[in-house]
Every structure is written in C-alpha cells, then in structure tokens.
C-alpha cells in the first residue's frame, strides 16, 4: 500500500471479510434455528397426540359381585374358572343400568344394549381376572372402575364429537349425551392409566385396552441380549484390531468391511437373520433371541468403530510409559489404555444400544410384528417366547383403522423416547464419571 491508511476506516478487503463472516454466522443460526423448530414441532406433536394414552376414560360403578351370576356353582377355583366373561358382562351391564337409575340419570331413548355399549369389551375380562385373583370378593359390594369404550374415551378427550358420532356405527349421539350426563354426575372420568405400560396389545375393537407390556418386555430382553453379546465381542475385536493385529492387507480389508457394515441398511440384517437364525439355525420366529442376535449384528460395527476411535485417542505416551516400566502389551492395554478409553467405549456402546432399541425394519422380517398377547416368560426361557418390540408396536398401531390407536402409537413413541433419553443420560453420566485428564 502506498498511502498510509487510518485504522479507523475499514478498507474494502476487511469490509468484504466482515460481510462474509456475518453471512456465515446468519446461515449457521438459521440452520440451528431450523433444527430446533423441527424438534419442537416433533415433540409437541408427539406429546399432544400421545399424552392422552396415559389417561383413560373409566366408568366408576358401585356394585355387588352377585354370586348368582358369576359363581353359580360355588366359589372353588375350578368352578370359577369355568365362568366365562359373558357372565361378567351380564353382571356389569345390569349394575351399570342400576347405578344409572339409582343416580337418577335419564336413559330415555336408549336400548339396554346401547347403554352397555358405553363399557369396554375388555371390562368384563378385567373384572374376571380380579375375581379369580381374589375369590373372597364374591358377594361383597365393591367400587369397580370399568374401562369405558374407546369412543367414549375419545369423546372425553375431544377426539370423538357429536358430528362424528352421527356417521359412526359404533356409537350414537344419544350414547354420547348419556356419557355427558354421566361425566357431569362424576360417574365417568379420565384417570391415570398404568395398564398402558403393563397390559399386552389388544385387538382392533378395543383400543382402550391396548398396552405396551409385551413390547417393553420384548425390547428389554433384546437389549439384554445385545448388551451381553455385542459389548464383549465388539470391545475385544477392537482391542485386537487396534493393538495386536499386524498391519497388512487382511486387516485393512477387515477394517473397510466393518465400516461398510455400519452403513448397511438395517433391513438387510433382517433378511440375514431370517436366513441364518430362523431358516438355518431353526430358532423360533417372533422371539427376542432372534431379534437380539440380529440387532447385535447391527450394533457390532458401531461399537467396534467407536471403541477403536477411543483406543486411538489414548496418547501413545501412556503406552510407552507402561511398556517402559516393563509391562507386557496386555498389561499396558488393560491397566492403562482401556481405562482411559472407557468413556468413549461406553458412549459408543450406549449409542449403539439406543440405535438398536429404535430399530424396526429387521424385526418386521423375523416376525416380531406378530400380535402377541401372552407375556414372555422370565429369561432365559423367555428369550425364546414370542414377544413384540416397542418400535414395532408403534408401527403396528399406526396401521390400524381406529384413530384411538393413533393416540396409542404416539404414547408408545413417548415411552420409546423416554427410554432413549434415559440411556443417553446414562451415557453422559458414565462419561463424566470415568473421564480423566492426562
């Protein structure tokens, strides 16, 4: 520059630089803002749709367990077993009509069947289980909270309206009018619904009874299998590859293939699992053991890659130090390198597990999509029993016609997200706990 310029005046070059920097900042802010907005939208839509699943419409009945109906042949367990839900339904229908009459609520223009239609078809089964568990209740007056029909539940939550009821063969506006009266009289209300987390899936016709119990158990079993197989296997493989294996073509090939495996679409692992574990090895379909093994295959590359990265990040001076005082290679690795790599390994493992927990496609192929109402037994036998899985349950419910299942699916997503948040929190905590400076 020939003319001396003042520092107070920005020259064209620095002006251009400053402009491009602020442009970049704006773009960054925009990107972050977009991501946050998308997240907020997702969460609010899931929470808005799904929180309702944790509350369920129930009809409170003050009733007497009439022995003449539900225990015509005495109260010994065998005789009670022979009484089907039909008898309990008769009892419930009668008690509902009596309760309405006792409270002076008008049922004008409604048939007995229409009144009974306010109750869920699941309610008699719940009552029957209660009685079988405690036969001493027979003949006693009890207060029973009977599940309301899914449409009535939807009415309480605003999903079902008078207009939609006109077009609905399952519920009529008159029934809804009665429901309104019952709600005002305190007989019908929304209450917390623990059975959403514990009950098994239910059929198309009774969304109000559907729960996640089997799916949560199935997912937990699969996570257990993934954890027990993929972590030791993955960590051991990475230690060998990173620290012991000679650097040659074969190990290069293995390394490339592991990276490729991490990018293989998950449904391919499902086909592999179907071919190997079910068709070849003869393991049962829909079983957590097969799901767990397939997810293990999927998780292994993630764990191996992150473990190797964690091992690589340990400064070589620590290895030198250990070898310098005469530690063997194995001692150097297990006493010094591995503890330092632990936070990274744990993070990778939990991220891998979280991925596996949310994986759906491979499970569809090995039959985890089946409708399962029986809880799997306790492990290890339970690993071979049919079960469902959380993400598959979500998929399953979204495919059903009744909009009540949409709420259920969103509720299941909330549960799934909660599990993922807990797992990530554990990862962060463990990382803090093990993190050491060097």
């Amino acid at each position: 520059m020939s003319t001396p310029s003042s520092l107070y005046v920005a020259d064209p070059r620095s002006k251009a630089r400053r402009r491009s920097e602020s442009r970049f900042r704006l773009m960054g802010l925009g990107a972050v803002g977009l991501a946050v907005a998308a997240l907020v939208f997702l969460l609010s839509s899931v929470l808005g749709n799904g929180l309702g699943a944790f509350r369920q419409g129930v009809i409170t009945l003050d009733m007497t367990l009439d022995a003449a109906i539900i225990a015509p042949k005495g109260t010994d367990p065998e005789a009670l077993q022979k009484v089907t839900t039909i008898a309990y339904k008769r009892l419930l229908d009668r008690e509902l009509a009596q309760d309405l009459a006792a409270k002076g609520l008008s049922t004008e223009g409604l048939s007995d069947k229409a009144i009974a239609g306010l109750l869920s078809q699941e309610a008699p089964a719940v009552l029957r289980r209660m009685v079988l568990a405690d036969p001493a209740l027979i003949g006693q007056p009890i207060r029973f909270e009977a599940l309301a029909n899914g449409r009535v539940d939807g009415f309480l939550k605003g999903r079902v309206t008078m207009e939609s009821a006109k077009l609905d063969s399952n519920i009529s506006p008159e029934q809804l009018t009665l429901a309104t009266v019952m709600r005002d009289a305190g007989m019908l209300n929304l209450s917390f619904n623990p059975s959403f987390l514990t009950a098994p899936d239910a059929s198309e016709l009774r969304p109000e009874a559907a729960g996640l119990g089997v799916a949560i158990l199935g997912s937990a079993y699969m996570m257990l299998i993934v954890l027990c197989i993929s972590v030791p296997l993955g960590v051991a493989a990475s230690i060998y590859l990173e620290e012991f294996a000679p650097q040659n073509r074969l190990t290069d090939l293995i390394e490339v293939n592991i990276s490729n495996l991490a990018a293989v679409p998950s449904i391919v692992f499902g086909i592999l699992g179907l071919a190997i574990f079910i068709n070849f090895a003869g393991l049962p379909q829909s079983a957590p053991i097969v799901g767990g093994l397939v997810l293990t295959l999927m998780t292994l590359p993630t764990i191996i890659i992150s473990t190797r990265a964690a091992l690589k990040a340990v400064p070589p001076s620590i290895r030198d130090a250990a070898l310098g005082v005469g530690a063997s290679k194995m001692q150097a690795i297990f006493h010094h390198v591995l503890p330092l790599a632990m936070p990274g390994i744990l993070t990778g493992t939990i991220i891998g597990l979280a991925q596996a927990l949310g994986e759906t496609a491979p499970l569809l192929l090995i039959g985890m999509v089946a409708f399962v109402r029986d809880y799997p037994a306790a492990p290890p036998e339970g690993f071979f029993d049919p079960a469902s899985a959380l993400p598959v349950q979500v998929y399953n419910w979204t495919t059903r016609a009744d909009p009540a299942f949409m709420e259920r699916a969103s509720g299941a997503i909330i549960v799934l997200l909660l599990f993922l948040i807990v797992m990530n929190a554990i990862a962060i905590l463990l990382r803090r706990r093990f993190e050491r400076r060097w």
């Binding site: 001076s317 030198d320 250990a322 310098g324 005082v325 005469g326 530690a327 050491r436």
Partner: protein, 265 residues
C-alpha cells in the same frame, strides 16, 4: 559456565554394562542408524548428543527394545546386556525392560495416584511381598528421585496434578522403582524449566552410584555437566565416542568440533 566441572570428572568404572556392535536401524526405507558401536560402562552417565534426527533417540530406544513397538522399525546388529544378546529370540522384551528402565522426553505419569504410579512397576513384577514392603519401595524411589518431601503428604493425589518438573521426577521415581540396572533417559529435561532441570541433573549424578545412566540431550552444556562419557551422532553415524572432557575440549573429528562450537546442528 558450569562446564568448568569437566576437568574434575573421571570415569569410576571400566566394566561394560551394555555393548553394541554394528547396530543398524531402518524405519521402512529410511536408514536411521548406521553401524553403531558403543560400550556403555557400568555406573557411569553416558550422554548422546547430536543434531535433531541424527539417530541418538533411535539408538537409545534400541537399548530396551522400545523400537519393537514401531511396526516399520528393523534393527540389525548385536546389543548385549551383561554379555547376553538382547535381540536373541529367547529374550522377552518385557523382562528386558524391567532391567533397562526408561524415562521419556515428555513427562508421562499414569492418570493414577502418585503412589500407584510408582508402585505399578514393582506390582507387576512382583517385587514386593505385602503392603509394607511396597510402601517402602515407593518411599525409597520417591526419595531417590528427590520428590519425596514434596509429595509425601499427598500420595493419593493424581500424578497428573503435579507441575512439569515434579511429574518428570515422578516418572524417574517410577522408572527406578523396579531397580533397573540401566536407566535410559530421552531428553528428560526438554520440557522443564532451568530450576527443575538442575534438580533432575543433580539427581542423575546421584543415580550414577547405583546404575548406568544413558541420557540423550540437545543441550551440550547438560551433556558436559552430567556425563562422564559422551557419544556424538551425526546423520545416523556415531562420529565420536569418548570421555566427556576429551570430546568437549579436544575432539578428534572435525564434525564434532563444528557441532560443539555451534557451526553445524
């Protein structure tokens, strides 16, 4: 200059602890060390000097087979410890390194307590029977490394929390806890301030009573201050090896003279 002390220095011992003959080192296609013959005397401080990349650290790492950890390194020739070839097939480098300890350029304490840092070597070699004996080894090593008074009240504090000079002395304590016969030091003072350097140098002089010390250094003054014998390396060759006083005052090779007077390097 403390270099004046050169004249007072004598070599106490004439027995060779380690003998190297025709040592060549290749890293891949690079010929890093060419035909080196050196005798390391017992209970003597031997300094390796020379410009960067001359092969002095490479040679040092040959003496306890730390080069084994470098996949591309190939060592030929013969290095003996007490008359036994350390590159013999029967030799377990782990056993060798227990007898030939090493201190590195950068202080590298384990991210464990001070006590565990020092106790690690004795533990894995089974040198102590019981806690009391181990405590004793730890205290003795820390005393020898002239750091005991600074850390005796916080043996359970992490070794990485010490200052740079203290960390290096801790590393020295760790190296001497396994009672090696030879102690290799790879520029042990390059990361230290002058005061810590002086402490470490004093320490080296004391350690000479028990083992041979081999020290690689960039500082000619340091070589002159602490060593009895000096080897000058240049471009992978051992140019000159002799008594420190002679190397610094009366070098026979013109390259040595150029280096110590600052004309090459």
């Amino acid at each position: 200059m403390k270099d004046m002390r050169i004249a007072e220095r004598t070599v106490d011992s004439q027995t060779s602890k380690m003998i190297a003959r025709g040592v060549q080192v290749h890293y891949g296609t690079t010929h890093a060390l060419k035909d080196v013959d050196v005798d390391i005397l017992d209970k003597t401080v031997t300094a390796f000097i020379g410009p960067s990349g001359c092969g002095k650290s490479t040679f040092l790492r040959c003496l306890n087979r730390m080069n084994d950890t470098v996949a591309s390194a190939r060592v030929t020739g013969r290095i003996e410890l007490d008359g036994e070839d350390i590159y013999d097939r029967r030799v377990d480098p782990v056993q060798l390194r227990a007898r030939v300890g090493m201190v590195f350029q950068k202080p590298n304490p384990f991210p464990k307590s001070i006590y565990d840092n020092v106790a690690y070597g004795p533990r894995i070699h089974g040198l102590a029977r019981g806690k009391a004996e181990l405590d004793e080894i730890v205290e003795k090593s820390l005393r020898k490394a002239a750091i005991w008074n600074e850390v005796k009240d916080r043996l359970n504090a992490p070794g990485t929390g010490l200052s740079g000079g203290q960390q290096q002395r801790l590393c020295i304590a760790r190296a001497i806890a396994t009672s090696p016969e030879v102690l290799l030091m790879d520029e042990p003072c390059s990361a230290l301030d002058p005061i810590a350097t002086a402490q470490v140098e004093e320490l080296i002089d004391e350690l000479r009573g028990q083992f041979s010390v081999v020290i690689v250094t960039h500082s000619m003054q340091q070589a002159a201050r602490v060593s009895q014998r000096t080897a000058f390396f240049h471009l992978g060759n051992l140019v000159e090896y002799g008594e420190t006083g002679q190397i610094f005052t009366n070098p026979t090779d013109p390259r040595t003279e150029s280096y110590i007077t600052g004309r090459i390097g």
